[in-house]
């Protein structure tokens, strides 16, 4: 109902569209007699999801390990870079262009080289995740740190605070909302990074599973793996949103009366 709290009106329409599309897909595969190995109907994908759940979860765990490690390292790298860039002209001039250039490197070309250097293990995948994830975090954080009201910093100075205290008390908290914006983008693309890393060469992970299943024409399993990675991306995105909600209580206060 329109008054339902769990399903407010602005959630109903997207769900309806999703349901209609799924239903249309199911119907189309049936009506046009599309072979299952070309396009499995949603029911077959769901079936594969349940049937292969142990297999899928095992590979999901591998992918999520790469994503988790990659995201953590990305945050670390981005924080160090951003603080360096905003506190030193020299670092800004020398490092910032390299940071931007790193995004021009085609990852599909880089991944095989990483494979040669680091083998089939965890490392090359984590590196690919870091490559796609640190950038949005770093750029947003730099903007956030730069956008800090100068008078807040002057306030800390006039109270006898050190530059380090100004960073801790003013700059970092003021930049947190931008940091979370960057982190949200990073979380959303992180899974893709891990999948690309796995496609190039691996022995486990959802990306590996997709390639192997496709080569064996287990198309329903491919779709199940795709669905699972999409769910993982969305879950990561929401997790960051939740972290933000917990970490920035004052943002909520701005919208409510005491």
């Amino acid at each position: 109902m329109a008054h339902n709290r769990l399903l407010p009106r602005d959630r109903i329409l997207p769900l309806l569209i999703l349901a209609a599309a799924t239903f249309g897909w199911e119907l189309a595969t049936d009506v046009f007699q599309i072979p299952r190995w070309v396009l499995p109907p949603p029911s077959a994908v769901l079936h594969a999801l349940v049937r292969d759940q142990q297999l899928l979860l095992r590979h999901l765990a591998v992918t999520m390990e790469e994503v988790g490690l990659g995201l953590m390292l990305s945050v670390l790298l981005a924080v160090v870079l951003a603080i360096g860039i905003v506190s030193s002209r020299l670092v800004e001039r020398s490092v910032y262009p390299l940071v931007v250039a790193s995004q021009a490197v085609p990852i599909v070309a880089l991944a095989p080289i990483l494979l040669i250097w680091f083998g089939y293990g965890l490392t090359p995948k984590v590196i690919v995740v870091v490559l796609v994830c640190f950038f949005p975090i770093a750029v947003n954080l730099v903007d956030g740190l730069r956008g800090v009201d100068r008078e807040f910093v002057d306030l800390v100075r006039s109270l006898g605070g050190t530059p380090w205290q100004a960073l801790r008390v003013v700059r970092i908290p003021a930049a947190l909302p931008s940091f979370f914006s960057g982190l949200r983008v990073a979380a959303a693309v992180s899974v893709i990074g891990a999948l690309i890393g796995e496609w190039v060469g691996s022995s486990a992970g959802l990306g590996y599973l997709m390639i192997r299943a496709a080569s064996q024409f287990h198309t329903d399993r491919v779709f199940a793996a795709v669905l699972l990675s999409a769910i993982a991306s969305i879950a990561l995105f929401w997790t960051v949103g939740l972290l933000e909600y917990v970490a920035l209580p004052w943002r909520r206060a701005a919208k409510t009366e005491p």
């Binding site: 008078e151 807040f152 006039s158 109270l159 205290q165 008390v169 920035l248 206060a253 701005a254």
Partner: protein, 267 residues
């Protein structure tokens, strides 16, 4: 009030300040000499943009003068950040901190343990009518409350010299009058030196021992008036002939030098 050898809390010697707009230097302040004695309450009035906030920034040490010297407590003070308590024109409450955390900032920056800081500050929240709001965020406060928090923070910096830049600027007349009387009572018991910047001539006269009128940019001192009204002061004095006379004098000075580019609106 009167020490044998006059030890000035603040002394400005021939101070000037220019900013650069592109390559063009823009002279904003001075040359200006100013001396304020211990426990004196001094007000600065002047047209908008004449450099009043710049002057306070110079005294606080946020800016350095282009030429001239700033002395504090009888010595030249080239590095003076942290030596005076400064209430900026904007309240500058950190939106991510609660009222309590905002007010405690000066104590925190000096490394005073939180427990002790809270103990020291709590009685003041009562006095400031903020006791119920210690856990609120600045966005949840009214304008008058925000200014009181900013004021409390300045007070907790615990410095003998207070610089107040239009502390009641953004308020309606009623709230402002009550906060002025409240500041008056507070100052009389606090033993601090105050330099108050204001647009409000009555506020200047009610509160202070001396009033300086500044010229339009670049701000220089046009005249100095000694306010010989007895203390404790109250708003009843606005009808006192001496008060009326002083007010007329200040307004005449301001009008004589204020061209039409500065509208005579409210504040």
């Amino acid at each position: 009030m009167k020490s044998p050898s006059p030890l000035w809390r603040v002394e400005l010697r021939h101070v000037t300040k220019s900013f650069y707009r592109g390559r063009q230097p823009l002279s904003v302040l001075g040359p200006l000499d100013l001396r304020v004695a211990d426990r004196e309450f001094v007000a600065l009035v002047g047209p908008s943009g004449c450099g009043k906030s710049t002057l306070l920034n110079l005294i606080a040490g946020i800016e350095q003068p282009t030429s001239g010297e700033v002395w504090l407590d009888g010595e030249l003070a080239p590095e003076r950040l942290g030596r005076v308590a400064y209430m900026h024109q904007r309240d500058l409450l950190l939106p991510w901190r609660t009222v309590l955390e905002n007010a405690l900032l000066p104590l925190e920056l000096r490394g005073i343990p939180r427990r002790e800081a809270v103990a020291r500050a709590l009685p003041w929240f009562e006095r400031f009518g903020l006791a119920e709001f210690t856990q609120a965020y600045p966005a949840q406060l009214s304008g008058g409350m925000r200014q009181r928090v900013a004021f409390l923070r300045t007070l907790l910096a615990d410095r003998p010299l207070l610089l107040l830049d239009e502390p009641f600027g953004a308020l309606d007349a009623l709230t402002r009058a009550s906060l002025q009387e409240w500041l008056l009572a507070l100052w009389e018991e606090l033993d601090r030196t105050v330099i108050l910047v204001t647009h409000d001539v009555e506020e200047a006269l009610i509160l202070s021992d001396r009033v300086f009128v500044l010229s339009p940019r670049p701000g220089t001192i046009v005249c100095e008036l000694i306010v010989e009204l007895p203390r404790p002061r109250s708003y009843a004095m606005v009808t006192d002939p001496r008060f009326v006379q002083l007010k007329a004098e200040i307004l005449a000075h301001l009008r004589a030098r204020t061209t039409l580019e500065v509208p005579l609106h409210g504040t």
